[in-house]
Amino acid sequence: MARKDTITINGDEFSFNEGETILQIANRNGIDIPTLCYMKGLNPTGACRICVVEVKGARNLVPSCATPAMNNMVVETESERVIKSRKLNIELLLASGRHNCITCEKNGDCRLQDLAYRYKVETVRFPESETRYETETNALIIRDFSRCILCGRCVQVCNEVQVNRAISYGYRGSASKIVAVGDLPLNESDCVFCGECVQACPVGALTENPSRFQGRPWEVEKVQTTCPYCGVGCQMNLHIKDNKVIKITGTEDVAPNFASLCVKGRFGYDFINKPERLTVPLIKEAGSLKNASWDDALSLTAKRLVDIKSKYGPDSIGIFSSAKITNEENYIAQKFARAVIGTNNVDHCARLCHASTVAGLAAAFGSGAMTNSVADIEKSKLILVTGSNTTEAHPVISSYIKRAVESGSAKLIVVDPRRIPLTKFATLWLRQNLGTDVAWANGMMHVIISEALYDSNYVKDRTEGFEELKKTVEKYDPAFVSKITGISADDIIKAARMYANSRPASIFFAMGITQHSTGTDNVKSMANLAMLCGNVGVPGGGVNPLRGQNNVQGACDLGALPNVFSGYQPVGDPAVREKMEKAWGVNGLPETSGLTITEMVKGAQDGKLKALYIIGENPLVSDPDINHVEQGLKNLELLVVQDIFLSDTAKIADIVLPSASFAEKDGTFTNTERKVQLVRKAIDPPGKAKQDWEIICELSNRMGYAMEYTDSKAIMEEMNSVTPSYAGISYSRLENGGLHWPCPAPDHPGTPILHVGTFTRGLGQFHAIEYIPPAEVTDEDYPLYLTTGRVLYHFHTRTMTMQSEGLNELSPECFVEISPQDAADYNIKQGDLLRVHSRRGEIQAMARVSDQAIKGTIFIPFHFAKAAANRLTNPALDPIAKIPEFKVCAIRIEKV
């Protein structure tokens, strides 16, 4: 074996791998070379010249970040020459602009200040250069150009990490400036306010506006926790001063986000500290909600529930658990429903988002969750994204996808009717008609099978049902599919060949696939496609549903579903019931599946359901056909709402119970990739608000069933004992990073990839599926289609995001996105007020004419209660998953 190459740094010899830079070797061996512009993991720019070192024999000092080591190199990192050069550079940086530390937000956390201190730069020999550019301020980010040292870290993270490509260098020489396109202010540019640049800025040039003058770096305590918005599960540090969250930053070096966040995660925390938070229980008296004591509120709730149960039976009561609360709390909620009330009527909002995923993937694979991990995106050769506006709904995952495309490691196919931002990165963009997903998937499989591009060994060894599938897709030739979907036959063939010939290939989808009356069929079609090409159970492959809520995966896992206990153990299985009865010390757990959310609302309308206990959900905005939901809720004898704000639903409740937000509780969330991560209490809840599990336990105690846990950890321990897939997960293990379930034992490493070697159900099941049109199609009266979705700056019913001034400024109100062609046909201009009618209701909103929309289909975000898109949507249900068809309905529009 050849002797390994070595390098000598400060007199010590080190071996190295080819391509390693001097800086990397030094870092690895504990030698501290100061840096300023260097970003770990990105291409070094060598811009700041702070990391220069002396290399024996070299004429000039070399930047250690950008210089690869060579054999027998002799390096000095703190020689006289090096120090002199660093001092000069620091002086020059300090002279460029106005580096006044007194009120700078970065004082105490500034790399330039650190360097000046380290190298004892007390005076600057050069005159301060004039600052050419005015400080720019918007609600979220302050850009102080007088402090900018043009190191380029912000440009690098914007372009190479988040791949938002909003800023770059502009002009040159002494006029150089970091600019957005057109040198526009950020809030008029393509910037999406992820704030990655702010976190990367080593000095005070970029700072968070809402955090200004709120606290100095050394006054705050930082607590790492899990983001409360979407399902990516970003790890973030809450900066706490005086029991108040004053800033949020992404946690460095920790999966899945490695310091990245999106605008909601970084800036959407105002809700935590708002005076509008519920601080005491409320009881409705004579038509209005009045403050009450916990004792009164809980006793009354207990009494009413007991009365209703004895009068109408346990199945007259329903519980909406929540995808926003912790795993422990979901476990307690479903235990309360089953063991205390005695009903399986427990469900949560997954019914409205991924019920079809759980049903479809369970049927195909035996397990209804994301098959692969987020990190696996880097291993994919091809990524197919459909029905997911990833950059707006799961921004940090979208960065993984964009990076994979930019680095050339993967190609991207986007199948989406809207020109979503990801289409800019796509090799191929298929623009299908709404609700025709089964057809294009069948079309691709037709091509793959007829051209024999499928993985025949995988199909033979690992799956069943192939012959039926083959027979069914036979008639879906590209010409036939083209007629249904509106996608050209050529593109279907191209997509099929690309998908089949690039392995491993992964599929990512979200609501655009699931929220259909054929949602389960759509999901099964994705499973078919993936299995056909041998892409399930392999690194970089998989069928990956992106979950929309921080803990929607966990709420499903811990049994907040009407048909299963925690760990998807069926309520219909006597052995499982017996196990639970023993663990919980009860008899006669209900054996038939309970009602789903949509069925409970229907039950309320019909008078079969008498009481509803809603935790952290807002069905008066989020559910389809709100007009009917409202009737149903008003029809109830008892409506209890447990929330952090007086939501639209809470306003009509009989009893309102104030709960703690994510920042005020301990527990765990399970993110979209099945990774269980810690939530850590950073501050105390406002007023008398309590953690959700505490409220339910106290209620249970009053109803005669003792639930006594010292803390959330004790609940986790009970979960371990009755939930095989969570059996090995403990808080002490999670302290060192999250764990992917299934994790059946304390020494099990977790399972980042499902179905390796064998499917959970044994063989993968192909489903032969015929295309069925959407439940409502356009006609003369309602000639246009409506599809609904999210925008980047808001989350769900805006209970949390509407509390943020910055987010409201960036996305103030509802809009109707309409294609330029339709706008011309209806003589509609940008900003015109439109009235939109469906068979179920009408709303008004401003027109936004945009080529993101396709002719014949308008898009309305569903966040805004004032112009709630769900007054229009169709409550037609998928027959299996009972998920409503949010994504397609027929409407007509007119100018107001």
Binding site: R165, G170, Y171, R172, G182, D190
Partner: protein
Amino acid sequence: MDHKCIDKILEKYGHQESSIIAILQDLQEEENYLPENDLAYISENLPIPLTRIYRIATFYNAFNLTPRGKYPVSVCMGTACHVRGAPMVFDRVRLELGIDIGGVTEDGLFSLETVNCLGACALGPIVVIGKEYHGNMTPAKVESTIKKYRKRIAKEK
């Protein structure tokens, strides 16, 4: 510019990202400046991030992001021209046109900029109007030279 014309330019350079400077030069040749919409179209169809185009377009003095006059006037301020009185020539041009650096005359005919050297020092001071070079300029000759262009334009009309 018509998208078809931009497509032709992109075609000419084989949609090569590395040819972006030549592409921008061709666009400016046609349009006299770099219209924002056209840059967005190039960004989408080359494809290349718009921020990168903007970085290049602002780096080089030769690119203009705002419309220039039909006859851009460039006064050379290089060393050789300078010692032969370029600043006085420049002042006179400014007076004659009634605009400052970066400005465009109200009729849209002329715009004013300075350059640092045109590499024809023997002819200095030099003023370039449109594509024509006017050497050995003096303040006294400025008025008549610009008048020539005004006449020419009037004739064309």
